[in-house]
Amino acid sequence: MNRKKHRREKPDAVVQRLMNIVGEREVFYLKEDLISYECDGYTMSKGMPKAVVFVKSTEHVSAVVRCLNEEKIPYIARGAGTGLSGGATPLGGEVIISLVRMKRMLHLDLENRKAVVEPGFINLKLTQSISDKGYYYAPDPSSQYACTIGGNVAENSGGAHCLKYGVTTNHILGLEVVLPNGEVIEIGEEGIPDQPGYDLLGLLTGSEGTLGIVTKITVKVLKNPEGKKTVLAYYDDINDASQAVSEIIAAGIIPAALEMMDSIAIEGVESAAYPVGHPRDIAAFLLIEVDGIAAGIDDQIDEILTVCKHNNVREVKVAKDEAERGLWWANRKMGFGAMGAISPDYLVQDGVIPRTRLPEVLGKIAEISKKYELRIANIFHAGDGNLHPLILFDASIPGQSERAAKAGSECLKVCADVGGSITGEHGVGIEKSAEMRFIFSDAEMTAQTNIRAVFNPEDLLNPGKLFPQPGQCVEIKQAGQGDRSTVPVNAMGRGD
């Protein structure tokens, strides 16, 4: 063990070149400075980067990319590193290009309801900086306190409110992108919703940082809804809760959000920073929010209350004020992190299922839980069928990590088998690249890797992500293909 006084290693030639571009203090290459970049929010896979480079401008990004291209060194764009599938995690030896210092708002045009931000701009900050003027940015991933809009674009992130408002891709008007050859392109034309030619905006959004590095983003901002009401409903039986969900949608109501949590998830959030005081003996709760023109809201709430009661709800209530509503949401949004309060580690899965199959899927997940002797909590964006089983484990107990990974993969298999998908919003990254085979045939996969090869011919940009590696050991399953029509799965990964 080396405990001698630390000797500063000298930067190598590549690091020196990078320093010449961005400045000496903006490049880190010592092990101690790199180790916290070993992984993102997904901790099951780790790799040491070669260096971390902080860029301040599109020119920086372009110059850094050109340099790395010449040196044939792989590289990865990184935002806040809250990704849950290892998208920003190195396999080993990549240079990480950190975009967090590109965090300015460049332009705000409320009249035309749009804002231009740099990729490191924090999601929640956007809403915070325009809320006093009566506007907000709709995509609200639970990680919005920390994640960057660049990362949101790369992952096509969704949030609790995307049932009504759509995911990131529905809110992007234009992008500036540095291609893997260093060229800078602008895609999306202001004011023209459907440009001729290929829909590059759609292609880039959700490409998980494998086609280019986004350096500027034009987003839509929305006017705050006139009114908003939130309902909390406690159920003793999960079947009743899912029946209520189906009936609400069937009634023609499109809630802004429709969330469900099961009892283990409730145990987590009640032990975490924002306990609400949910009864601990319920099977599930639903959190339902409607918004829009003030006049229609009360009717919708009445209808929702009726549906809930009709489906044997134990207790149902409407938030009495903004403070209560805020607490309910804070409690819900802490969902993942709260698992830390009841388990040393967790693995979050991100399946999509037809919402009517929920009881059946939860039954199968309970069997997986028994089989692997690991507790599994479920957090469900019930409205759009995006299910997050959270597999609780302790990485310090030999064998548990492996069991958790297997259990996670089986959960995804269950989702694919009922006609769903393996990711709703967290992306494929390293984690689910093998499981891509659950839902895509070889030909479908080749069509996609061919596209990557056009943008990223040498595969230097975020290599080893999104698609299975040649020789990667997986059970190749074509199952579920038949019912795919129930839940169309597109390249952006979100069904429903």
Partner: protein
Amino acid sequence: MSAEENRLVTMLNAGKNDTPCQTKTLGNFLWDDLPDATKWADCVHCGMCLEACPTYQETGQEQHSPRGRVYLIKSVAEGKIDVNEAFSKPVFDCLDCRACETACPADVQVGGLIEEARGQIRQAMPLTGFAGVLNKTLLRGIFPNLKRMKTLGGLMRFYQKSGIQRIARKTGLLNIMPTHLKDMESILPEVGKPVLGRYPEVVPAEGETKQRVGILTGCIMDVMFSDVNEATIRVLTHNGFEVGLPKQQGCCGALHVHAGDRETGKKLAKQNIEAFKDYDKILVNAAGCGCALKEYDELFRNDPEMLPLAEEFSAKIEDVSKFLYDNDFDRPKTEVKTKITYHDACHLAHGQGVRFEPRQLLKEIPGVEMVDLPDADRCCGSAGIYNLTHPEMAGALLDRKMDDIPKDVEMISMGNPGCMLQIAMGVQKHGRSEKVVHTVQLLDWAYEKDKEKLGKPVES
């Protein structure tokens, strides 16, 4: 042994030549008082704490974020990296502001963990240079020793009163000091005389005695802000509390623990536990001290003998503004016309979860108009002696704080002397004119006004 196995394994490792009295190690943590593995085990690496952290906001570097710091500490325990300069920097650049603890959904005790890691670093790499001198003279030599603190206070009083200050400022004598120390000098408050020793050990309540409380007079507080201590005593006795000022009390030890000197911290803790053993309630008007006293149990985590005493002691600690609010403080009747904003001291808001009571206390003084301070709970950069050891970061945070302070307020109120010094420096640096006050002082003035109106003489 693999890194994963190393994670929670504490192995016997006696007889290492550079760790003489050491029996247990944890990965590359080789020194006494090992960090607590359960603290990083709670962290799920979600990143919800990132944007709460002032040093991450400034640098954007993962290793300067709470998540990164926890990860680094864990990596040392797993034997993946060593205790060296590059590890020490992020650990010591932490402000210990605890904003991350408020943000963290998994209740990770980042602050405690960082203090434990600092303990390891200081044993591994004793300080040299300016920092070493600062550490030795201030932390070991002066703060723990109230007599020397008083002497220092006396010297400063002499410096201010004798005209040397004026001469020093005029002649440019001050120019030989580093800029941040110069800034500091320029705002040194008019130094009063410490209350400890000057007041009787027991100050009786006015009227009927509701309860007997002890107060920690603090070292910096009592030397630099003895007027705040006087106000605290007046306000408490006015509200019917008998105030005890046990003479054996000492510095709370927060600065030492923050600096990684846990041994001195423990010595001071023992002294205070002993000094206040006859009190059921101990009130503190310095948030940093209050937080430290509440965490004595954490300090004695590995000491089965002291732990129960420390736990009992910590449970008695309360912030004075919260105590007054919870105990139905006497509402002043006379108007104090002023426009004021409130800054959340980190160790009050994040460290003790006290946000509502001091604001409410101020709002209930007639005539006081409260103006919201945006991001009121973002650190002002004071953070103990952080502003002395990390002037650049502290300065950047102070500038942001000053930019946020509404332009039209007359006073800035808070509950911590460190913040008072720092923000007073900001007021001066930015050419502003707001008065920096302690929450309790405002209440004291309000009572004074009441008394004036009722024609009663006001005791000083």
